[in-house]
Amino acid sequence: MTIFTAIDVVLFAILVACALGIARLRSLYAAAMLSGLFSLTCASIFVLQDAVDVAFTEAAVGAGMTTVLFIGALALTRSRERVTLPTRSYLALAVALAAGGALLYATADLPAFSAPDTPVQQHPVTERYLLTAQQEIAVPNAVTAVLASYRGYDTLGEVAVIFTAGVAVLMLLGKVRGTTERTPSAASGGLQRHHRVLRVVSKVLMPFILLFAFYVQFHGDYGPGGGFQAGVIFAAGIVLYALVFGLNTARQTLGLVALRLLLPLGLLIYAGVGVATLLLGGNFLDYNVLATDPVHGQHLGILLVEAGVGITVAAAMILLFYSFAGRGVSR
């Protein structure tokens, strides 16, 4: 039993305990916190399995934004759960056992974990992504190269999904009520006298958080990072500001008008790069034609595309938070 296996087993045990806790707890705030812990432990497992980009994104998105959204939704609704009916529990248990049994039977065909000669590793596309990419694209982070260039269509679709989610949540919860309509709630007024330490430290740390978001955005070519992580970190900085100083102050700093312009701007940049490559004579999203030297064209294309991703993701996450926080506490 190697150290790797021991750490793996311990982390999985923590995950199973978290999942069972989420299932059994009737207090939904505690369940939301446990789901944040679940995501963070999964990020540790991802690091253990060499998926550093994915771990970065899972920690930022799962342990950060999702927990904030759940708590925001719980503040607007109820936070305790009714007792589950026994018939439903048995049905769910039967379905879970049947599906789990079928999946476990199917994994017998999967190759052994971390073997170097699996079909995934032997496929010729592996050599294309890892070796040939260094001559064609010359970006050290293979994940960024694949994400932005080789599989750029998928990423375009994903940015469209984020945009759609932002628009849909705006349509559902969009009437962001300020303090003019209701009594000033804590969400819009911010923390006052008693939280001086929090306000000072947040104000000191905010520029570094936003700077770190930009660093992650532009350093995504050379290390773990890229548009998604940068967008989420930027949004997390603004969410911190809104939580400490109040939603109204945050909306004066980065208002709804600016965000509603930024949300489609990233998607337009991404699709615009594709249209530009069409007009310059190449295929859609073929970055080679963007500059005289194909490698430089690839670099330029990846830079623009990741910028588009970062802009839309940041705007969407901030709009999601504004929509939930601005709905007004209805209790």
Partner: protein
């Protein structure tokens, strides 16, 4: 085994010990405010000592400067988080347990 490696492992072991202490305290201490203190121990002493130990083993300047920045960020945010937690509980009306628990 150079002195630097020994010192580094000693610091990491101390950090792990403090993290364990924090976890035990979280379960065993009687009151919310004392448990917040235990959680703060995990964050500041545990993680801080481990980062110092890793700093002694850093291979290049780039890695070392990143570890120093993480340590600085932790020094700022961990006490603030513990303070915010305790302050929020006090605002909500939770009274600290003074004297012996009956």
């Amino acid at each position: 085994m150079s002195a630097l490696t020994v010192a580094s492992w000693a610091l990491i072991a101390c950090g792990a010990f403090f993290a364990l202490t924090g976890a035990v305290g979280l379960m065993r201490l009687p009151d919310f405010y004392t448990r917040t203190h235990a959680a703060g121990i995990t964050d500041s002493a545990g993680a801080g000592l481990m980062l110092l130990g890793l700093l002694l083993q850093a291979e290049s300047f780039a890695v070392a400067i990143r570890l120093v920045l993480i340590l600085l960020f932790l020094v700022f945010t961990s006490p603030t988080a513990a303070h915010a937690l305790a302050q929020a509980a006090l605002q909500d009306g939770l009274k600290p347990l003074l004297g012996r628990r009956r």
